[in-house]
């Protein structure tokens, strides 16, 4: 009797399934208990400090000015509007940074593989310098050491009296809608549609008959010529307002604030160094036999590059490129260091200080970055899947 019970007992202890259940239940319970403990502490702390939790504060009036807003904003607008402005500013920096860093990174990555000794070494030096210096330090350098010591608006450096660089930022001409705007926009849309249809038709023709159609040239031609035709008939789509010095500052035109310039420059330069390394390794991953095979089939060097090397290199480049984009978006939060009004410095900084709603504000900020990260990964995963090697 006692023997069987002890055997049952030990079997229960060593049974992998039972142990798995026990481990999992204990782990989940521990996490729930920790969560409850933190929640309980937070509740009592909040009650003691007299902070009301909830998202009601978003409707209150903000009452502070913002140097750069892409949508209309006055000081009496609500905190939710401030949130929107911060989000748009973060997206603005991220998009500009991603585009510029990709271009620069590809150029330097290709230069790194150049047979030209000098170009090759220059690219190497660039990569080794800039990826080993913290991005925040680079932002500080551009902002405090380069842009802020520039002369004021009255002595600003001007390029052709249309672009002015001063310690208030870069003033440049701004487009405003003119009579020809709508015809221009409509023809541009039509041209885009036509190019898409043409590309599909060209692809089908190529698949069916093997005859290539000069789709790229035709497409570009349509995209340029059709809107140009509209401009000729209906007049210019924009009239440009040029900045003019009035009193102590510039009037008219568009201004890029120094914070934006410093942030974009630093993020571009920093991320481009990493992208360049990804591009280099991606191109090196395509074996030389591929080039030789393409050449022996009689493909010209340009076609070899476009149809054989790049498609295969992209497969290797895309996954690390995605994580570089994610890093750039996350690094854009370093804006808080120089006071560019992005999500973190505006919302998690100023709004948190004014309202004291720490939990809500941080939760909103973090979920914004989480959703941006997840959307970029989904987008790039979709693209990656589209260009992935189709095997049997």
């Amino acid at each position: 009797m006692s023997v069987t019970s002890s055997r049952n007992h030990s079997a229960l202890l060593t049974d992998p399934q039972v142990r798995a259940w026990v481990f999992q239940v204990v782990a989940v319970l521990a996490v729930v208990a920790l969560g409850w403990y933190l929640f309980h502490n937070t509740q009592s702390n909040l009650a003691q400090r007299g902070i009301l939790s909830g998202f009601g504060f978003l409707e209150q009036s903000a009452g502070f000015g913002i140097p750069q807003h892409l949508i209309d904003y006055t000081e009496s607008d609500s905190y939710s509007r401030v949130f929107l402005i911060g989000l748009l500013n973060t997206l603005l920096v991220s998009v500009i940074g991603i585009v510029l860093a990709t271009l620069l990174g590809f150029v330097i990555g290709v230069a790194r593989l150049s047979p030209n000794w000098l170009v090759n070494k220059l690219a190497t030096v660039y990569i080794e310098i800039f990826r080993n210096i913290p991005p925040l330090l680079q932002i500080f350098f551009w902002y405090f050491a380069v842009l802020l010591p520039l002369p004021g608006p009255k002595q600003s450096l001007s390029i052709g009296d249309t672009f002015f660089l001063s310690n208030r930022g870069l003033n440049m001409p701004a487009p405003a809608m003119a009579e020809g705007f709508w015809p221009f926009l409509i023809t541009l849309g039509l041209a885009l549609l036509a190019v898409l249809l043409m590309a599909r038709w060209a692809h089908r023709r190529f698949e069916a008959s093997g005859q290539a159609f000069p789709a790229l040239l035709t497409g570009l031609g349509m995209l340029v010529l059709l809107p140009a035709f509209a401009v000729l008939i209906f007049g210019s789509p924009f009239h440009w307002t040029v900045p003019e010095l009035k009193g102590f500052n510039f009037r008219g035109g568009l201004v890029l604030i120094p914070e934006l310039i410093a942030l974009t420059l630093a993020l571009t330069v920093y991320t481009a160094a990493f992208i360049a390394e990804n591009v280099r390794s991606g191109i090196q991953a395509v074996s030389h036999g591929q080039t030789e095979a393409a050449r022996s089939l009689g493909l010209k060097p340009g076609v070899t590059l476009r149809k054989v090397i790049i498609p295969q290199a992209l497969r290797v480049i895309i996954p690390p490129l995605t994580s570089q984009y994610l890093n750039l978006v996350k690094n854009s939060s370093l804006a808080a260091g120089i006071g560019y009004p992005d999500m973190v410095s505006l919302f998690a900084g100023t709004v948190l200080n004014q309202t004291g709603q720490a939990i809500e504000v941080i939760a909103i900020t973090m979920s914004v970055y989480l959703s941006i990260s997840i959307s970029i990964s989904l987008l790039m995963n979709w693209y990656n899947k589209r260009i992935a090697l189709v095997e049997r």
Binding site: P115, L118, V119, I129, L137, F140, L334, L352, T365
Partner: protein
């Protein structure tokens, strides 16, 4: 009988040997390459001479005040005068030998680990890793055993940067390994918990984590219990970095062939012994370069603690450049900081490349 005598070989044509040939093949092989070379040379000429002039030839090296910097070039007097602040922050001047001793002990203690054929290396490493943190805390913080206390609010400069980086990696490594094991676990609940944890920290920027640890951590803790600002920052850094380490280690775990797991199980090893004796030693060896790279990223990220008001190297320099007595020294300050960070990061990345070559014993499939 006439014998045939060979004539001596002709020397190779002058276009295929020597400096001229090298120039031809590497710089001027065709029209496009020549154009590129000229453009690049112009770029070098635009950048290098002015930078050299500014940083070395026209620079001011001697003196003690702003007025001593009269030349066109950089004013390194500023960096020399503030060197102590950049290295130690507000650590009391009379006690700075303690910081130096801590660094010296770290170097001396870690040196045997780099000797390839040292006997009982593992025992030594474990002892060092256990004892050194206590010793370092005693030396830096003090407050017991005859050493005067130096509160963390007085720590700063490069020393604080190194402390955050070292504690960050030391805390993140074990946590990251556990998370990686959890993510590869067969138990669904544990896997879900670990994946959520990892993806959450990897999806948010470090700044928001630091914000969170500085404003939300005090709310999470029971009343009366409050942490030092540095400790709060360290908790944030460790949690954040452990997620990245976990992903690196997971890469190593996935690279170990299934046969190793099966062989270990066939030997009758349980989960922990299988991991500890068979899988992790191989997996960690594979990912050492990846861990070093994560450490480089962490080292660069330590500069973010400026946001929550800690005086690391970058913040010390920012403060010093804001001093009215040294107005307009921003370039010198940041260039100096960049040089320091660069030396550390570049050195580590070279080391990781060397390790990669040395550890490559051909196990990868």
């Amino acid at each position: 009988m006439q014998t045939h005598t060979f004539k001596p070989d002709l020397p190779p044509p002058s276009t295929s040997v020597g400096a001229l040939a090298w120039l031809r093949s590497n710089l001027f092989s065709n029209g496009f390459n020549t154009l590129l070379t000229l453009l690049a040379a112009y770029l070098v000429w635009l950048i290098v001479p002015p930078v050299l002039n500014w940083a070395l030839l026209d620079a001011n090296w001697s003196g003690s005040t702003r007025a001593d910097c009269s030349g066109e070039g950089a004013c390194w007097v500023f960096v020399r005068e503030r060197f102590g602040q950049f290295m130690y922050g507000f650590f009391p001047e009379g006690l700075r030998w303690r910081v130096n001793l801590t660094v010296l002990l770290a170097v001396a203690g870690a040196a045997p680990l780099f000797i390839q054929r040292m006997p009982r290396k593992a025992v030594y490493a474990a002892g060092f890793l256990l004892l050194y943190p206590l010793l370092a805390f005693w030396l830096l913080h003090g407050g017991f055993f005859a050493l005067e206390e130096v509160p963390t609010s007085r720590w700063g400069g490069l020393m604080l940067t190194l402390v955050i980086a070292a504690v960050g990696i030391a805390g993140a490594l074990p946590l990251g390994i556990l998370l990686a094991l959890g993510r590869r676990s067969d138990l669904p609940a544990i896997r879900v918990l670990c994946v959520t944890f990892i993806e959450f920290w990897r999806g948010v920027p470090l700044i928001t984590v630091l914000f969170m640890s500085s404003v939300m951590l005090p709310l999470f803790l029971p009343e009366g219990l409050s942490f030092d600002k540095l400790v709060r920052a360290l908790i944030g850094v460790i949690l954040f970095q452990s997620a990245y380490i976990a992903e690196v280690v997971r890469g190593g775990l996935q690279a170990i062939p299934k046969g190793q797991y099966e062989a270990a199980a066939a030997m009758g090893l349980g989960y922990w012994r299988m991991m500890g004796l068979v899988i992790l030693p191989q997996a960690l060896k594979l990912v050492i370069p990846g861990i070093v790279n994560t450490f480089i990223a962490l080292f660069k990220d330590t500069s973010l603690v400026i946001i929550i008001g800690l005086f690391d190297l970058l913040n010390s320099i920012k403060q010093a450049t804001a001093d009215p007595a040294w107005i307009g020294m921003a370039t010198e300050g940041y260039v100096f900081a960049a040089l320091l960070f660069w030396m550390f990061c570049f050195g580590m990345s070279r080391y990781s490349m060397r390790l990669e070559r040395r550890l490559d014993t051909g196990h990868k499939r």
